[in-house]
Amino acid sequence: MTERPSVPFAVLHPYRRPEPRPFRLRLRLIHGVGIAGAVALIGGAAFAQGGTSTRSAFEVILQWSPLLLSGFLFNITISVLAMLLGTIAGIALGLVLIGHNPVTRWTGWVFTQFFRNSPWLVLLFFAMFLIPYEFRVAGTTIPFPDWIKAVIGFSLPVMANVAELVRGAVRSLPSGQWEAAESLAFSRRQTLWMIILPQCVKRMLPPWMNLYSLVTMATVQASIVGVTEMLTLTSQVHAAEGGRPDLLAPLYGFAMLCFFLYCYPIERFTLYLERRFKV
């Protein structure tokens, strides 16, 4: 109010939100301490034992890290593809949920609720056992490896959650947007794709990224159904190192650190977007 003394009533000014601070992932002291702590946890255990004949956990992880990281890359690949597939299917399902046809809408609702409220691991089992390991199309065999089935398995809950996000975002838009579009003779389809959905993207982005973080972390469940991802490799590395009990914490700690370093910035960025888009 002090900036504009000429107008006595601040309420007469259109409300403007303060500019949000630009996004920067600042590595503060606290982060440094955290990461150092994790590294110490990983490397420390074996140093303490200090056996001359056994290698330290740090050496072990260093030696196996290319393999372990390739496994981690695989987790990321699975999560990205599952998210891609699930998002495309989820948008389609979301459109069914907000559609006019009561039959498809009801079917879509049942579908959504089913996949939203099933444990991810169960969906994963279904995908694993319902999908054949190869398809024969016109004489050529298309292999369908386990990891692709895992992608499909994870994309099912993603689909249902994205459908809910779409539905919620569309519902949360003021009805005036629909009315304005209608009065300008836009068809329903045009209204959706040109006016409603673009505005929903902004609202959906933070929860969508949140979902992505969850998917990434869930991909380790694929190890249970035999996909050779990071957790599977971690346990195999542990076996190859003779199953030393003192290696358990450092090896799994390393996996944890990888996921943390990947998901934490996403989490921060999501928070930033949430603040930014807050209406």
């Binding site: 056992f129 050779t228 346990s235 195999q236 003779g242 009990p245």
Partner: protein
């Protein structure tokens, strides 16, 4: 538990398997033999730092591929999925530390003679001066709860078995001096003794008891391939290939391997 869940699910869903008539023909046509092996059981099947699966069973698989004159593809399997993989046709042959049981013979075609055998043994502290099973009378061994032989060993040799869950806890207890040895599968004990972590203070001084043979398996109905694998297994025993493999991967040849070698090398 997972194994059970998977099997139940598979049955519930009534999943059939693509019973392609002749797997040998398929292997030859594709030029690839796909074998399911373990990747977490040293030294039978485990990873090297490059990510490749190595060990005794991958070597056996490689030998089969060589005999068929095709390339080899190894698929890592776990106990929970190895039978399904074979039934689905995802793997042509299973060499994955699978014990021979009547139930398993119902779902897959087991190969005779059994290529290997596990048995019961003790990972023993070198300080405990034990030379025979009878010497164990009145002593305390660590064990894994639920192992079928705990009771039998206790009854027969008068040794107390202190049971823990899984295999990590009894190993901890052993290192902590709660017992003089760990009563467990001999293959597991042998695997431990490859590493300096264990072989400096521990050993396996006793002969294995209560043999539990492992079988190779192919899908049901693959009689021709089964015959080929039977011949191959006998040839391995004849030439002493399996004993060589044990030595190569750092374990003491088992009584079973020796016996089979002796039996077949004559003819």
């Amino acid at each position: 538990m997972n194994k059970f869940a998977l099997a139940t699910l598979a049955i519930l869903l009534g999943i059939g398997h693509s019973a392609s008539a002749d797997v040998l023909a398929k292997i030859k046509e594709k030029g690839v033999l796909t074998v399911g092996v373990k990747a977490d059981y040293k030294p039978f099947g485990f990873r090297d730092p490059s990510g490749a699966i190595v060990g005794i069973e991958p070597d056996l698989a490689a030998d089969v591929a060589k005999r068929l004159d095709v390339k080899l593809e190894l698929v890592p399997v776990i106990s929970a999925n190895r039978i399904e993989f074979l039934q689905q046709g995802k793997i042509d042959l299973m060499i994955a530390t699978m014990s021979d049981t009547p139930e398993r013979r119902k779902s897959v075609l087991g190969i005779d003679p059994q290529y290997y055998s596990d048995s019961v043994n003790v990972l023993m502290s070198k300080k405990a001066k034990v030379a025979s099973w009878e010497d164990l009378k009145g002593k305390v061994l660590c064990g894994t709860s639920g192992a079928w032989y705990n009771k039998a060993v206790n009854a027969k040799y008068g040794v107390e078995v202190k049971a823990f869950d899984g295999s990590e806890k009894p190993l901890f207890a052993l290192k902590g001096g709660e017992c003089i040895g760990y009563l467990y599968d001999q293959t597991f004990v042998q695997g431990k003794l490859i590493d300096t972590e264990w072989n400096t203070d521990f050993a396996m001084p006793l002969p294995g008891i209560m043999e539990a043979p492992w079988m190779l398996a192919v899908a049901q109905g693959e009689g021709a391939f089964a015959k080929f694998m039977t011949d191959t297994t006998i040839d391995w025993m004849k030439t002493g290939f399996i004993v060589q493999e044990e030595t190569k991967w750092g374990i003491t040849p088992t009584a079973y391997s020796q016996r089979m070698h002796d039996k077949y090398k004559g003819n």
